[in-house]
Symmetry: D2
Subunit: 319 residues, 4 copies
C-alpha cells in the first residue's frame, strides 16, 4: 500500500511529529509513503516527494510543517478536485492521510468522493475546534505559548497595577481562550460562546479592586469581535488604565510540547491502524483518554461543545 | 468549616496553583483555610498561617511550594502523630488536604486515624507514580522540562554524530522516562518495569548506525540502576562514543505548564467538593478525562501499571 | 548614610536585580536603604519601606519591579516636587538612586535641584535609548524575548512561504528593532532613524523571491508610524500575502537574561561607589566594556546615536 | 577568492549563525565558499560541500553546527596535515576560516604552516577561554542556559530550604561558572583560578543560615575537581542537607541567544574583512566593545585572565 500524506490549512506545532510517526509506523507495516507538498495546492499541481524513516529524522521537535501548507480554495472546485484525483492516480496513491483542521477535512471528503480512495483525517490545529476529539495536535503548545506570554505581561501588570486585556487566537471558538484564561488566573474570560455584558465585566473589575486585587488580566478570544474596541470601552467605563495586547502569530509556532508530540504519535499510529482495518473516511481522535474514530462527515458536520464546567470554575477562582 | 492544607514530600510544579485554587474555591463555599508550613514537620510543630484569596495572589505560575515542604520521618512515630493531631485540634481544623505523593498519603492515613478528621489527598509529584490517577500535578511540567533539555543535547549529538545516554528522574518507576523517551524520539528507553538485555540495546544501536542514523538518544529512568555504568558498558560493547548526562534536579522546578496548572485547579475544586459531600479519606484523580475519587488506602496500597502499548509504540517509531 | 531607591517609568527586566544589588552592596558599606514604592508617586505620597539584604532575597530572577512603578506627571509640578523633597527630608534620606529611563532622570534632576541631595541614575529600559551608556538594564532581555517570538513566527512563515511584518517596541528610537532585526535575519528593518522608501522595500521583497527566498521577515520599530498600514501597503504593492504581528507588551516582562542581571549588579555597585566619592548628579553606564559616569544633565540632554555600521551589516546579510 | 570554512572541536550555539554570515557576506564580496564537513576530519578526508546564500537559509537560530564537527587528533600528525593541505589544494581553496576554540586554532596554525594559505580564526566555544577576545560565540547562550536551569533548581531549594551544589562546564577555566554564579546570586562560587578552603566555604554557609538565608546555591566549575565529592564533604562538615546537580551537556546546545547571534555576525564579517586586507593568521575578537584581530599564535599561546573584580563583586553581593 502506498499512502499519501498532506498537511493542510493553518500550520500547528506537532505536524512534523505526526508526519514522522506516520512515515515510520507505516514503514514498519511495509507501506511506502509519499509526501504532498504545500497542502492541497501541491496535490493539485503534483508536488510529490517520497518519504522514508531517514527523511523524517530530526524533525520531531520542530514547529510548522516541513511539507509546507497552504489554504487552497481551488480544491473546492470540480477542476481542482479532478486534478487532485489525477495526481493520486498518477502516483498510485492507495490512501490519503490529511493532517489539518475541519476545513481540510471538508476537502478530504471531496477528494475521497472524487478519487474513491480512503481518506483518514488527523486533527491538527491550535484552535482545538474539531468535533470528535477532546484535543487536537498543537493545541497544548499554543495554550502554553500564550500562557508564557501572559506570564510576561503579568510582570508589567503587577509593576504598574494595571488591567491588561489580551486577545488570543481561536478563530470563532473559545477553546484556546478558555484554557489560557484559567491557566493564567484571568479575572475575566471573554468567549464567543458566552455573550458578555460590558457592564458586568466592568462591575467585576471594580469589585476586584475593592477586594485589593490591584491587577487584573482579561483574556479574550479573537472570536468575540473587535477586542481593541472592547478594551477601550472597558477603560472608558471603569476609569482604570487598561493596556491592550494581541498575542497574534507567536501562538502558531514553536517547538511542540511533549503533549502535542505524544498526540501526534498516537494519532499517526491510529491512522495507519484504521487503514489496515479498511476504514474509508475516518478522523482519529482522543476522547476520555482513549483513541477513537469519527466519520469525517460527522467531524465536519457537528459542532464541538465548550466545557461550561471549566468556564464556571474559572469564574469561581477569580476572586 | 476550617480546612488545613499542607504540601508534603518532594515539591512539584503546580503545588502553588493547587493551594491557590483550594483557598479560593473553599472561600467561595464559605470555608476558611489554614496553611501548614514545611510539610508534616510544620504540622507537628504548629507552623500555621491563615490564607485568604489575596494571600495566594500571584503564585499560580511559580514553581515549588510557597508553604515549603519537607520529608518528615517523625510523622510515622506515635509521638509525631500525637503532636500533629494536637496541632489540628488547637487550630480547630475540621479537615486536612494533603498535596503530595504516595508517601505523603500514607502519612495522611495515619493522621486521619489518630485525629479522626477527614483527610483528602491531591496527587502532586513529577514521578506520576500514584495509583488512582492517570496523571499527577507536575508530571507534564517535568516531562516538558526533560524534553526541552534533551532537545538541547540533540544539537550536540547531531553535530558530533554521537550516542547520548540521558538519565531522567522517576524514582523506582518509569512513567517519566517513558513519556520523555517517546517525545524526544529516543532510540532506546530503559525502564525499571522492563528489564533490558545489554546486548539487545547494543544490537539496536548498531542497527541504527547501519541504517544511516548517525545519532541516537537513550533515555533511562533513574530506577534502572547505575546509569553511568550502563552507559560505559554500552560504549565498551559497541565501540561508539557514548556521552552521558543526568538531568537531575532541573526536572523538579520551573513554572508549571498549562496542563499542570489546569490539573491543580480541577483537583483542588474536586477536593473541596469531596469534603462537602462528607468524604473522609479520598484521593482525587483523573481517569479517562474524568475526575474520580479513590480511597487513600487503595491509592497507597496498589501499584499503578505502566502503559505498555505506549512503550511498544515508542519502539516501533525508533527505526 | 541613608539611600533611597525608586524605580520609575516603564518597568524593565533586571530592575529587581538592580534593587537587590544596591541594597546588598550598600549594606556592606554600612549604609541603610529605603525603598520608595510606586515610582515618583510614592515619593510624593511618602510610600516608604526599609530594605535589608533579606528583604531582597529571591527577587534577582523576577521580571518587573517589586517596588512597583508609575508614570507620574505630578513630579514635574512645583507642588509635586515640594512634596517629594519633604518625603526625603522626613525620612532623612541622604541620597536618591533612580532606576529608570531618561524621563525618570529628568525628574531626578528636578528632585536634586529642589531637595539638594545627591541623585544617581541607573539606566533601565528595554528601549536602550539613553545617552551615556551602550546598554541599559532590560535591553538584552527584550531583544531575546522578541527574537524568540519571531523564531516562532518563522515556523509559520516557512510553512506558508509568506512575508511576515513584525512590529517591535522602542518608543521613537530603533535600537530594539535593529538588534532584533539582525538577530532574526530580517530581510528588511524599518527604523525611525532611517526613512525608508516604500518602493525600495517592495523591490527588496521581490528580489528575495527571485533569488528563491520564499519567506521574508520585516522587523519594524513602533517609532516608524502606523506599521499595520505600512504592512498593508506593502501587501498591496507587491501582491505577496503579508501577515502582520505586533509583539506588544510581552517584550517588557519576563525573567531577566544573564546579561541584564549582570548589568544590574555592575550598575548598582557603581552607583554606590559614585555616592562614596561624592558624586551629586551622575548616571552610571557602560561604554566599550567599561563602567563610566555621565552627568544626568548630559544624559537627558543628548541623543544617543544609532550604530549605522550594524544596520549596514544587517542589510548585507539579507541576501 | 575561494574560502573554506570548518567548524572544529566542541560545538557552540551560534556556529550556524557564523557560517551563515560568513557565506552571505563573502558572497556580497564576490567570493565563493566551500563548507568542510565534520571538522578537521572532513578536511583530511575531503568532505566538501559548496555553500551559497540559500544553502545557509533558516539555520541562523539553530544550535550546534550543520557542517558537523569532530575532535580530530590526526590533524596533529604530519600525515594528517599533508592530507588536509592536499584537500585544500584539490579544491582550490585560497583561504581557510576556522570556527572553534583554542585547540582548533592550534590546528589552524599547523594547517597554515603546511598549506601556506591564510587561516583566520573565529572564536566559538561555550567556555570563553580564548585569549584575545572578551567573549566567544556561544558563551552568552551557555550562561543563560545554566542560569535558567539553576532558576528551576532554586524552586526546589526554596521549597525545601536546602543547600544546592551545582557543577557547570568550562573545562579547566572558571569563566562560565563566574558569570553563572553572579547571575543566579550564588552564595559561593568555586573556580579553578581561585583555590578555595573547604572550611571557609562551610563557614560561609553557616553564616548565611545565621543571617536567615534558608537556601544557598553553590556554583562550581567542573575544573575545580570532583565536585560530587566536594559537595559530600561540604554536607558532612556543615551538617546541612546538600543536594548535588551537574548540569552537563544541556549547556552546549539550544538556539543561540541574540548576543551569540550578533557576535557570530560581527566576527564573520570581520573575518572576511581581514582576508580582504591580506591577513594571514589572525583570530577575530571583541575587546572593550570593539572588533580586534589577534595573531593566532598569540591567541593560543597566552592565557586569558579571569575578571577578579567581578568575582569580588559576586562575593560582596552574597550577604
Amino acid at each position: 500500500m502506498k499512502i499519501g500524506v498532506v498537511t493542510s490549512g493553518g500550520d500547528a506545532p506537532g505536524m512534523n511529529a505526526a508526519i514522522r510517526a506516520l512515515v515510520r509506523y507505516a514503514f514498519t507495516q511495509g507501506f511506502s509513503i509519499l509526501g504532498i507538498e504545500r497542502g492541497y495546492a501541491g496535490l493539485i499541481s503534483n508536488l510529490i516527494v517520497p518519504l522514508d524513516p531517514r527523511s523524517v529524522g530530526n524533525i520531531l521537535h520542530s514547529g510548522g510543517t516541513f511539507l509546507r501548507s497552504s489554504r487552497c480554495p481551488e480544491i473546492r472546485t470540480p477542476e481542482g478536485l479532478a486534478k487532485a484525483a489525477q495526481t493520486l492516480k498518477t502516483n498510485s496513491v492507495d490512501a490519503l492521510v490529511v493532517i489539518g483542521g475541519d476545513g481540510s477535512f471538508r476537502g478530504a471528503l471531496e477528494i475521497r468522493r472524487v478519487s474513491g480512495i480512503p481518506c483518514i483525517g488527523i486533527p491538527a490545529t491550535i484552535d482545538n475546534d474539531v468535533y470528535g476529539t477532546d484535543e487536537t495536535i498543537g493545541f497544548d503548545t499554543a495554550v502554553n505559548t500564550a500562557v508564557e506570554a501572559i506570564d510576561r505581561i503579568r510582570d508589567t501588570a503587577l509593576s504598574h497595577e494595571r488591567v491588561f486585556f489580551v486577545e488570543v487566537m481561536g478563530r470563532n471558538r473559545g477553546f484556546l481562550a478558555l484554557h489560557v484564561g484559567i491557566c493564567v488566573g484571568a479575572g475575566v474570560i471573554l468567549l464567543p460562546e458566552i455573550p458578555a455584558q460590558m457592564n458586568e465585566v466592568c462591575r467585576k473589575l471594580k469589585s476586584f479592586e475593592e477586594r485589593g486585587k490591584a491587577t487584573s488580566i482579561i483574556v479574550a478570544a479573537e472570536g468575540v469581535g473587535n477586542t481593541m474596541e472592547i478594551a477601550a470601552a472597558c477603560e472608558k467605563s471603569t476609569g482604570f488604565e487598561v493596556r491592550y495586547s494581541k498575542l497574534g502569530y507567536i501562538q502558531r509556532g514553536g517547538s511542540p510540547t511533549a503533549r502535542s508530540r505524544l498526540l501526534a504519535d498516537l494519532f499517526a499510529n491510529e491512522a495507519v491502524q484504521l487503514l489496515l482495518t479498511g476504514a474509508q473516511d475516518k478522523m482519529v481522535g482522543v476522547q476520555g483518554g482513549h483513541l477513537v474514530a469519527t466519520s469525517l462527515g460527522e467531524a465536519v458536520g457537528r459542532e464541538k461543545p465548550l466545557d461550561m464546567k471549566l468556564y464556571r470554575l474559572a469564574e469561581e477562582l477569580a476572586v
